[in-house]
């Protein structure tokens, strides 16, 4: 059992927030709004990571995704269509939206049936429950140690050591990938005039 009691409440809040924002993203009228909703979705997912005790990944998610990728998105939106979607009539959806909707709904229902109802992975629920609201007469639930001054989760250290030992080769490959991405984006994004000047 991953979450119980107080944490489950947060799970509901975050899950709802994430899903609503994701739906808002795919139905957003303009790309800037879309980027904002994407940001909200990513922050919601980061919150879920926190619930799952993945603090470092949550931090990295916000730092890289929200602070980097979304900013980049907005940057590009500003470069390519400043208000094209607002000032001119711009169809939001493509011609195949109905067909696509059917496919997605079939997918959801299929997974709902096969993956959740029939429980093929036998992921049973177990473990103790700490209720948010204790039943009358029950002993008060053990209050967790306040974080101040206590031992801190060593998630970051663990992730670091795994990243630099077991996953050292993928790490190197990722660095090469980033280098390739840098070079590729520079080559892709330069204007013809820049090409002429520097060639």
């Amino acid at each position: 059992m991953e979450l119980a009691g107080t944490e489950a409440v947060f799970f509901y809040i975050l899950a709802l927030f994430t899903l609503v924002m994701a739906i808002a993203l795919v139905t957003a009228p303009t790309a800037v709004r879309g980027a904002l909703y994407l940001m909200a979705t990513l922050i919601g997912v980061a919150g879920l990571f926190l619930l799952l005790h993945a603090e470092f990944v949550a931090g990295a998610q916000i730092l890289i995704y929200v602070g980097g990728v979304v900013v980049l998105f907005i940057f590009v939106i500003m470069l390519v269509n400043i208000r094209a979607e607002i000032n001119e009539p711009f169809r939001t959806y493509t011609r195949q939206r109905r067909l696509a909707a059917v496919v997605v709904i079939v997918m959801v229902l299929g997974v709902w049936y096969f993956g959740i109802q029939q429980d093929p992975f036998h992921l049973v629920r177990q473990g103790p429950v700490v209720a948010l609201i204790p039943p009358p007469g029950a002993p008060p639930p053990p209050v967790e140690e306040p974080t101040l001054g206590g031992r801190i989760s060593e998630d970051t250290q663990e992730v670091g050591s795994v990243l630099y030992t077991k996953a050292a080769l993928p790490f190197e490959i990722a660095s090469v990938l980033l280098l390739v991405a840098i070079v590729g984006s520079v080559v892709l994004a330069r204007t013809r005039r820049q090409e002429e000047t520097f060639d």
Binding site: L19, L25, V26, R91, A101, L123, E158
Partner: protein, 134 residues
């Protein structure tokens, strides 16, 4: 979503007394299944966005949604392993970090392509870019 979750809980905890208290207790237990469901819904929303939107930028954002759904799964399963006794299990986190890295690289390249495309075709609508057809 909430009603679905409630329904799931009620289905899977039949022996729990269906009182108000039992219902709340059951509702407050969240396991791997819920995360898989959530991540799958996120994935489905992302797929829907990729399939239906006209704006390339929004399509990119939907792809980010799909990647995030995968991330969520990785983290949830890592936690599942940790709860199952493998306390030092952190490989899912590492995978997630790599996915984030790849997503960043993908966004950079993709947006570079969008800029180049816009420069040449003056549009960001995907169904107006159909050079492959000819």
């Amino acid at each position: 979503m909430v009603t679905e979750a409630m329904w799931t809980v009620l289905q899977q905890v039949p022996n729990q007394a269906r009182t108000w208290q039992g219902f709340i207790d059951a509702l407050l237990k969240k396991g791997i299944n819920d995360f898989i469901l959530l991540s799958f819904l996120l994935f489905a929303i992302g797929v829907a966005g990729v399939l239906t939107r006209r704006n390339i930028l929004i399509i990119f954002m939907s792809i980010e949604l799909i990647l995030n759904a995968a991330n969520l799964n990785f983290i949830a399963f890592t936690r599942y392993w940790q709860m199952s006794g493998r306390l030092s299990e952190h490989m899912g986190h590492v995978f997630t970090i790599f996915i984030i890295v790849v997503a960043a690289a993908e966004a950079v390249i993709g947006l570079g392509i969008v800029i180049a495309l816009y420069r040449n075709r003056q549009t960001v609508a995907i169904d107006e870019i159909d050079l492959l057809k000819w």
